[in-house]
């Protein structure tokens, strides 16, 4: 603990403090603007930081990362456009809340939940990092396969009114996930002879199209020429009722645990954490029917889960030198450029820097409390005062610029447009969109791990079940699928009795 106090002393100086404040604000903006995402922002900003004091540079990473995970919730709640893939689950209940006139309450819950998740995760990073990192080593290809399957079981909560269509959407997502070069055989799949498709369809490009374009088109259909007046915005502060916060605590605890658990596994990530937390909250609820119709617990679970993933995802990177996601890889790359060698000795090489970064992950989460709410209501919500017909081209341009800078190729814009129009029509015929994205995220993970596992076991499929952790995960998957069924049956029996 001693080095944390030393590190704290270094962090609480003008440079890192102002960098944290500025970058948390910036992160909220980046997360909130559809098309911009934290990975891109950090990748673009890091080179500017190579010549800076590393603690200032890392403060910027921490702020952008934590801020943006919360920022994604703002358009998710106000416009039903998730700002990042991790905030898809936030739209499920956040937008219905806003629809009921509770936008302000939803934003506040998102803000508190993000901060709580971020703090819990940072505490885990600071106290149990090396221990948790060793734990991740027990997860081989067979275990990863089951995690992916476990994640897909959570598709159950998002299939909507028509399960057949929901599963159909998930299968479509899985199929999209197979596009591009197959890493295990070098086979190009569904690339139609196009070189740019060798890398598959970019998740962000599809997400922006699928999720942001339909609401924009609907906004255009309304062709609102005046914009909302201040009174119509309904953003009066919504104080928590007594007991309301306490009611969220179990959800926060659960979501933090899930977020940290998913976060420490390299390659899993915040997108899955939010879905799993949401699913867990719904399963635990005494009133699962109210989810998807504006239940504050849903917003709390999703937002807490995606922020709890953040600091935890740094655990394998800082303790083992294994980057679990792109942001962690960028942090390691920044540390390398500043002359450190990632690996188990990293902490001992420079406790002030590594400990300082951990402290910064904690402090930027705390900053979300202070800054998040005001940014959402004072700035973003105010955009709704612009006439809708002006918002439409503005969001379109943001989407295009965000998509274009990912790979610098115009064809991605067409992919986005195509995905958007498909998304618009699919929603109209009651095909939910979230399973498509979930399939795209989990499909490659499931396929590659199962094939790797079979290569290792020389084709023996029983290996997928005989290893203790795999078996545990398989049983957990079964429970997640069966639990809602059992619950419904029990309730029916109770109703009859």
């Amino acid at each position: 603990m001693e080095f944390f106090t030393t590190a704290l002393g270094h962090v609480l100086t003008l440079g890192p403090l102002s960098a944290m404040t500025g970058s948390t604000l910036l992160g909220v903006f980046i997360g909130a603007l559809p098309g911009l995402n934290p990975v891109m922002a950090i990748a673009l900003l890091l080179p500017l930081t190579y010549s800076m004091d590393p603690l200032v540079a890392l403060a910027m990473v921490a702020g952008i990362y934590n801020g943006s995970m919360y920022g994604g919730a703002i358009p998710a709640i106000l416009l039903r456009i998730p700002g990042t893939p991790a905030s898809i689950a936030t739209t499920f209940d956040g937008f219905p809340m806003a629809d009921k006139g509770e936008a302000s309450k939803a934003l506040k819950i998102a803000c508190w939940s993000s901060a709580v998740g971020g703090i819990a995760s940072a505490v885990a990073l600071m106290t149990m990092g090396p221990l948790l990192a060793r734990l991740t080593l027990f997860f081989g290809p067979a275990e990863y396969f089951w995690i992916a399957i476990f994640g897909m079981a959570s598709v159950g909560v998002m299939v909507g009114s028509d399960p057949v269509k929901g599963i159909m959407a998930a299968v479509l997502g899985l199929l999209i996930g197979t596009m591009g070069i197959d890493n295990l055989s070098g086979q190009a799949r569904f690339t139609f002879g196009q070189t740019w498709m060798l890398g598959g369809l970019d998740l962000i490009v599809v997400l922006v199209g699928l999720y942001a374009l339909p609401p924009v088109l609907q906004l255009a259909e309304k062709a609102d020429l005046r914009g909302l007046s201040a009174a119509q915005l309904k953003l009066a502060d919504a104080p928590f009722k007594p007991g309301e916060l306490r009611g969220l605590i179990p959800t926060w605890l659960r979501a933090s645990g899930i977020g940290i658990g998913v976060g420490i596994l390299p390659g899993a990530g915040g997108n899955i954490a939010a879905f799993l937390s949401y699913n867990a909250a719904k399963n635990a609820s005494s009133d699962p029917e109210s989810f998807g119709k504006g239940n504050p617990q849903g917003v709390a679970a999703a937002e807490c889960g995606n922020n709890a993933d953040n600091a935890a995802s740094m655990i394998p990177a800082l303790s083992l030198g294994i980057p679990g996601n792109v942001v962690a890889a960028l942090v390691l790359s920044a540390l390398t450029i500043h002359g450190l060698q990632p690996g188990p000795q990293l902490f001992h090489q420079n406790p002030v820097l590594v400990g300082g970064f951990m402290v910064e992950m904690l402090l930027t989460s705390v900053l979300i409390f202070a800054l998040g709410g005001a940014v959402a209501t004072r700035v973003f919500a105010q955009f709704q005062r612009l006439p809708g017909v002006l918002l439409v081209p503005s969001i379109l341009i943001l989407m295009c610029v965000g998509v274009y800078v990912i790979n610098g190729r115009p064809v991605d814009l067409w992919v986005m447009l195509g995905a958007g129009i498909a998304g618009y029509l699919l929603e109209k015929v009651n095909v939910p969109l979230a399973p498509i994205i979930l399939g795209m995220i989990l499909g490659p993970m499931a396929e590659q791990s199962v094939r790797r596992a079979l290569l290792i076991s020389r084709g023996d499929a029983t290996d997928l079940l005989t290893r203790p952790i795999s078996a545990g995960l398989a049983i957990a998957t079964l429970l997640v699928i069966l639990w809602p069924v059992v619950k419904t049956l029990r309730r029916r029996r109770a109703a009859r009795a």
């Binding site: 990748a43 394998p316 590659q448």
Partner: protein, 316 residues
Amino acid sequence: MKLKATILGMSALVALAAPALAEYPERAIELTIPAGAGGGTDTSARKLAILLEEKLGTSIAILNVGGGGGSVGASQFMQAKPDGYSLFATWNSPITTVPQVQNVAYSLDSFTPIASTSETAYTLCVKADFPAATGEEFLAELAANPGKYTYGNDGIGGTMQLAAERIFQAKEIDAIAIPFGGAGETLQNFLGNHVDIYGGSISTVLPYVETGEAKCLLVTSAADVPALPDASGLESLGLGDKETLLWRAILGPKDLDPAIVEKLAAVIDEAVNDPSYVEFLATKGEVPNVVKGDALGDRLQSEYDALAEVSKRLGL
């Protein structure tokens, strides 16, 4: 300063009509990297770009185009204008290895070689309790137990796999290749005992050699590597001609003006040998290695031919 550079860039754009080489570069250069942000190639290129910006007096914008083992970025870059304002920072695999296993639209002729920057060997490592202590014993153990051991590598048909298979073919070894997404993932599975042998870059595994958890017994370079005293170079095993390295280079689009190539090669040479860059490379287990212009083209060609032979025998 950034603003100024941009304005300069804009006004340079207006004056584009008359390209005068003497003034090259007069606006921002776009550097395409065929890999995602944060990886080894990306970090090396970004660090080098900082030095090049200083020496060229212009800004360098970096564009990461990952996917397809580098072939997506290479194909996209192939279409760039050869005006000297589009450059390509790659490692050897997308150019010499990937075309062996994928149907790509580019060939060696699609690029103008400018200069290579650094190189490093791949290494094969095992856990401390593995029944071998030298490179020779390691290969003997593998040869004596065909099909028993699994080795992790950076993806099917990647340079790492071909580097290992070149050696295995020469010694008639049958080990099972398990392709992962990158050295980090391979390391995770190696440390967790999911694969027996780590195959990948030196810098990733180096900390675990220092803690004694891993022992690296073989490197894919002809010479030994100072950072890994237990590892045998191929020369000492009589396999000197099977050397396969990981190296990085800056290329231009086809038909780039030779005067620009020469100017860039000279500046890259200077930047790579800058003490701060050499030191940075050392932390990653790499050494500076500058081969310029046509000599670089010959190097690419001979590596391409050698790997074509290996992959044909592997049936890839």
